[in-house]
Amino acid sequence: MKRLSLSQACLLHAAGELGAESSRRLVEHIETYPAAMLEYDQTVANLASLKALPALEEEFRPLQLEQMRRQIHNGVIAKQRQERRKEIKRKLRPIFYRGMSLVSGVAAALVVMAGVHMVQMRAAARAQRLRDAATSFREFAQTNLPASHTLMLQQMNAGDHISNGGDEFDADSPIGGSNGLLQFLNAVDRVKLAVNSPVGPAQ
């Protein structure tokens, strides 16, 4: 416990804030020493003069006080609502961003899937065109070329002449398709040469 000076102890006692034991000792002291009694009386009088300061009720009419109370109250309540809205927004923001991310992700996946599908469709269409061209040529050759030439074509189709090192004409594969087309065109040239040669096509 910190030791207080006489004036401090008198002030605390006059304000009713001094503990019981300290109060007892102070009373003993001021009863013993007249100067201490004088100090105590002075302090009490000084503190009492403070009580003469008017309270708010004496300075403002009840109506004004009520107005001020309402103004302060409304301001605080409005701000409280604003704070609550901010809090809700703050909580909802991550959910909103997560939702947006999800939607963006789904959209991106759809775009990628559509792109892959389009590439596959184009490849299939190109392969189909090659197959159609081969079929058309085969039909043309079978109907318009002599028998020896037809036989050669059959051999070609069997892969004996046009496939070197086991390369097959693969119309379904985009790479095989272009490779096969090259082989096919070579074979066509060889058929032309065989037809035009004086020996004629090999039997």
Binding site: K2, Q8, R69
Partner: protein
Amino acid sequence: MALDSQALSALIERCRAGDKAAWDEFIGLYWQRLFAYAYKATHDRDLASDLVQETLLRVVQKLQRYTEEGKFEAWLFRIIVNLVRDKARANARRQTRSTLVDAESGSELTDQMPGRETVDDAEHREETEKLFGALERLPELDRQVLLLRHYGCLSFKEIATVTGCPLGTVLARAHRALAKMRVMMEVDHETS
């Protein structure tokens, strides 16, 4: 007027839970003491009202993190004391006393006192003005202690907590301020 610590804790808990009635009660309980202090410290009714609002709003914002240790009022008044001090710093030139004008009627407060003034009333008013004059002439920190004591209804221990000064310093300031006021009042009496 003040609640005991248990009732205050319960009220704070209800306010934390967002109970509107509790907030009404809380504001009703403290606004007048806060306003009285702010008004006497700033001499501006509107500014005092704004400062009280600001204080209560800060309580709203900070109450969730506040831990009750029996120093709630000191905490509350520390907020408004800091706000008043910041405002005083911002308005470096403080007016001695602004004229109180009713916002609605535009009439001065001194005209609002109903009825005719008697001789006793006049003497009382004169005494009050002298007292205010003496209070105004005190150094800032001494005045703050007296305002917190009289208008904030705080104990000297609470004032020590609010101002962050040792109890002895607060008591010394209060004692010195009261003695000075008394001397000034006596001088005023003699001159008048």
